[in-house]
């Protein structure tokens, strides 16, 4: 029995069925199918939400192992574990016992830890961009020169310091955005759409199985 359940055809079949349930009623109105599609759209959100602990358990596995084995930097793993568990526990939607998204500890962790950390983590890239621009942004050939000039003009156009003294800078920046940038991104959008359709067709034919890969778990 378990050999039958292990067969890859089952998830492939499920993928095909659920894809068609969403696609067919969009083009061909069949009341029961349309109702089924609507029902599944609502129902699937519950299935998705219940996957919330997958990340938490992964973290506990990896960092728990580090702590158990006293690997290099294991004390940092202790920090990760403590904050993961505390955040997950105080955030449980049990308002009756004072837990949930209005819990003071949860709010403290969100407002005074997650918010500053998250904003800072992404802002660090600003420094790397400045350094990389200084070290590597060179007009080595025609194409590099075009990138350089276009990039500099865009920078200048985004800074009021320049546009206030010479408004045509803004016009040039707008032109770069609306013409070559727009043309590039339109072509990329069309290409991406065709790629998505190709991927969907391959998935429907059962050829695309990348999402089913993986052997799972620790011993």
């Amino acid at each position: 029995m378990s050999n039958i359940l292990r067969r890859i055809e089952i998830p492939i079949f499920l993928t095909i069925v659920f894809t068609l349930i969403q696609v067919v009623p969009y083009y061909v109105y069949i009341q029961p199918l349309d109702d089924a599609a609507s029902y599944i759209q609502r129902w699937i959100l519950i299935v998705l939400a219940l996957a919330t602990f997958v990340g938490v358990i992964s973290i506990l596995q990896v960092h728990g192992k580090n702590v158990a084995k006293r690997s290099k930097g294991w004390y940092f793993s202790v920090i990760v574990l403590v904050f993961t568990i505390v955040m997950a526990l105080v955030g449980l939607p049990l308002a009756e016992v004072g837990l949930g998204d209005k819990n003071p500890v949860y709010l403290f962790l969100f407002n005074y830890m997650l918010q500053p950390l998250s904003g800072t983590m992404y802002s660090i890239i600003a420094f790397f961009i400045a350094s990389a621009a200084f070290r590597a942004f060179r007009a080595r050939n025609i194409e590099a020169s075009i990138v350089l000039v276009s990039g500099l003009l865009m920078l200048i156009s985004n800074a009021p310091l320049f546009t206030v003294f010479w408004p045509p800078f803004k016009t040039i920046g707008t032109w770069i955005f609306a013409v070559p940038n727009m043309a590039t991104n339109r072509a990329i959008t069309i290409g991406a759409a065709l790629g998505l359709i190709a991927l969907a067709v391959r998935t429907l034919m059962g050829i695309e199985r990348g999402y089913l890969r993986g052997g799972g778990a620790e011993q």
Binding site: L5, W43, A49, L155, A187, I197, L212
Partner: protein
Amino acid sequence: MVDLLAVYVAVFLTLALYSMLYKDTAWYRIAESVYLGVAVGYGVSLDLLYVRNQWATGGWATPGIMLGGFIIALVLGVLWYFRFIKQYFYLYRWPLSIIVGTGIGLALRAVIFVQFTDMIKAQVKLNLWIANDMMTTFNNILIFIMVPCVLLYFWFTGAKIRETAPMKVVDKIARYTMMAGFGSAFGYTVLTRFSMFIGRAQFLLGITPNPPENKIAFIVLGVLILGSMVAYDLFFKKKS
């Protein structure tokens, strides 16, 4: 008191992350570890709250297809966690394939319009002659030429037709167009990243609506963290 603690914690974590600009230090590793823990854990609250609300007021408790569906959803929800048990990993694929199938279906049904036909329509509708607006005419002609060139550039990647003279012209136009586009992307990327840094700088300086206490915390903790890193370097340099 809690407010002051909150201020110092927030400023410390901000500066600890920024300390990696000097060097990868324990301060940075502490902040990174805290970030990882909190970021992974916080979503649990809102996801489970959604499920709870759906049960309470979403009609799923109604006997029949709704209750049956909810029970099946719970079962599938449990199957996610067989991802961690190698022997039963195959069970994890079932909810995954349902999610992927539904997601692909929803994207597929409208992508042909939104990202393909609407783009083609906009391209075809370009007015290639506007008598009293030469600039727009020029721009439209450029777009009219550039888009197909970039498309052809991608479509015939690696094909022999690339060697022919017309395709060489197409290639050149496409490459120059894309380079200009990427330059524009670079400009906007700098805007985003520095805007994010400016936001953090406003926080550190206690600029309204951020609490003014942040400024003092920034100076105190900045001196401490930077001082400790420099002192550590000097001490070890001295030792070696």
